[in-house]
Symmetry: C2
Subunit: 336 residues, 2 copies
């Protein structure tokens, strides 16, 4: 924190991408865990300095850090330069071009590589915090565009299926990525159970094992399911949500990277979960349930499987969060 420079602390939550049948387009926001990010704005500066207070040994060079890359993209647009290819700047530019620097302190609590949007949380948290300090000059869609530059640093791909729910909250649909078209769906009244077995699945590996072509027949089944899932969410039809949480394309391939996947799924359904599957590219597995108590039983069932397998794990249980990145009220009070 630098005296006289505006500063803020945000909590940037974990997210679940894909939602089984919504590969690359659907995602939802969790309440916990969150990264804790403290950002200071340096008017007139151009520097971005990043410090990590966690033990993950992530790079602090802004161009190599997901939060840094997101802030760099925002800096470019702030300076009036066109943003990354394919996405036109806000038209007309809603503000006078300016130079600002950032000092960012990240306490990463969402373990990188866990499959619950760790990189997205850093990228989204940074730009949401910056936008608040800038007086909210950017739209949420613009913030997603900036944060996508962070995702590119993390995985080589500018995807938005974790970024969008992290910023919008609830459930989000990326109808189209080029041009970017985000559809915010209200958070259904459902509880998520997430288990993170302590094994590594690299996003790049999880992408590589997918086939480039799929059977049209399977694709039709998949889009029947995603249509059913969206209808179920909007009509608050839990049974329909459960029936639609089926993935005939990605899960059969990717689950081989996750030990115990079939057993976890089976025992969660027995414990009352509506359905679920791989979170993002794994190794985390998520399940949705109608009540918190069922979600707690489901998390217990997840834990039992990994205890039996002798694999360390963490579980989280909480509602689908209706809001994304949120200001840490404790910090606001400390500053004012």
């Amino acid at each position: 924190m630098i005296p006289d420079c505006p500063s803020i602390r945000v909590l940037s939550p974990a997210t679940v991408a894909n939602m089984v049948c919504g590969f690359d387009v659907l995602g939802f926001c969790l309440d916990e865990p969150t990264d804790v990010m403290t950002l200071t704005l340096l008017p007139g500066a151009t520097s971005i300095t990043i410090r990590h207070t966690d033990g993950f040994d992530l790079p602090c060079d802004p161009a190599l850090n997901v939060a840094g890359a997101a802030l760099l993209a925002m800096q470019e647009e702030l300076a009036g330069k066109p943003p990354f290819a394919g996405c036109p700047p806000e038209t007309p530019l809603a503000f006078a071009p300016r130079q600002v620097g950032f000092e960012l302190v990240i306490e990463k609590r969402i373990k990188p590589g866990s499959g619950v949007g760790s990189s997205a949380a850093s990228a989204a948290g940074a730009v949401v915090a910056a936008n608040i300090l800038l007086g909210g000059i950017f739209s949420r869609e613009a913030l997603v565009r900036f944060a996508m530059c962070g995702e590119k640093v993390a995985s080589g791909v500018k995807h938005a299926d974790n970024i969008a729910p992290c910023i919008y909250g609830g459930v989000t649909l990326i109808r189209s990525i080029f041009p970017l078209d985000i559809v915010a769906l209200p958070a259904p009244s459902l509880y998520a159970s997430v288990v993170h077995p302590q094994i590594e699945v690299r996003t790049a590996d999880a992408r590589q094992i997918l086939m480039e072509k799929v059977l049209l027949r399977d694709a039709i089944r998949q889009w029947g399911n995603i249509a059913g899932l969206v209808a179920g969410i909007l009509q608050a039809d839990h049974s329909l949500i459960g029936r639609s949480l089926e993935d005939v394309l990605i899960e059969p391939v990717r689950k081989i990277l996750i030990p115990g996947f079939d057993r976890v799924k089976e025992s969660c359904l027995s414990a009352g979960a509506l359905g679920g599957g791989i979170s993002g590219s794994g190794p985390s597995i998520f399940m949705l349930s109608a009540t918190r108590s069922t979600a707690l039983s489901v998390a217990e069932a997840m834990g039992t499987v990994y205890r039996d397998l002798g694999i360390d794990f963490h579980t989280y249980v909480g509602p689908i969060a209706s809001s994304g990145v949120r200001v840490d009220p404790t910090y606001e009070h400390a500053v004012l």
Copy 2:
């Protein structure tokens, strides 16, 4: 009509399957045109006799006629026999097994091969009419199963994307065909314009030119669009509906069978349509508009293209109908 035997007349409407991005799973119901079907129930009989008062020279053998095949499937279940493979009978059987025969007079007004669910209208109209005369013992889902046997006679495939909207009205999603899972969506407040150029596209041909495999990348774009379309319908977001009416998989292949397709689409969008595409497997083309007056202008634009091309055509304009097969009130009065 046979004295003392219960009899009814129904109007069975045209339907639009696929809805651009919802290949094989979405469909909606039109107000017009309708087939006019007069059905008489013959208690204790087993015969099905069919007579056509139109000039289409369709087969009258029940096993070869779409309405007849649907009634045969219903007769089997009425007699307590299990229905067609993969679809279990209503459990428990909600009625005492019985034998009934049917006499059906069909005035076909929906031209076969036009791409607006002509065969579905006959199959659906027959079983809805029969169910009314039987006191409504069958669920709508059971009626869809019977009518699908009619579709099989017409095209060799038991599909339900015309049948379901014809029976349920509004927009329907076939989330899954085996097992059958139909999701009824409310009819959005939109007007359809349909043009039927007088050329022939056989459903079987239109199926044959499709690739068995598609790029995963394209499939993802397609399911982003269907998710957007369902969200747009349920949230009454016309702009989202318009943006989502995009088909990167089927339309690019099938449109080559329809002369003037690109010109029609372009001029309809210029006339204010939200979007649209091939109806079913063609050759009809449909467009959706926010108001009736826009839908009329759109139909005019469609007509202009085919007049220029020297191809005969018919156009229809009407709302997405919230009800499917309906009883003809004129006939009821005449009988009672």
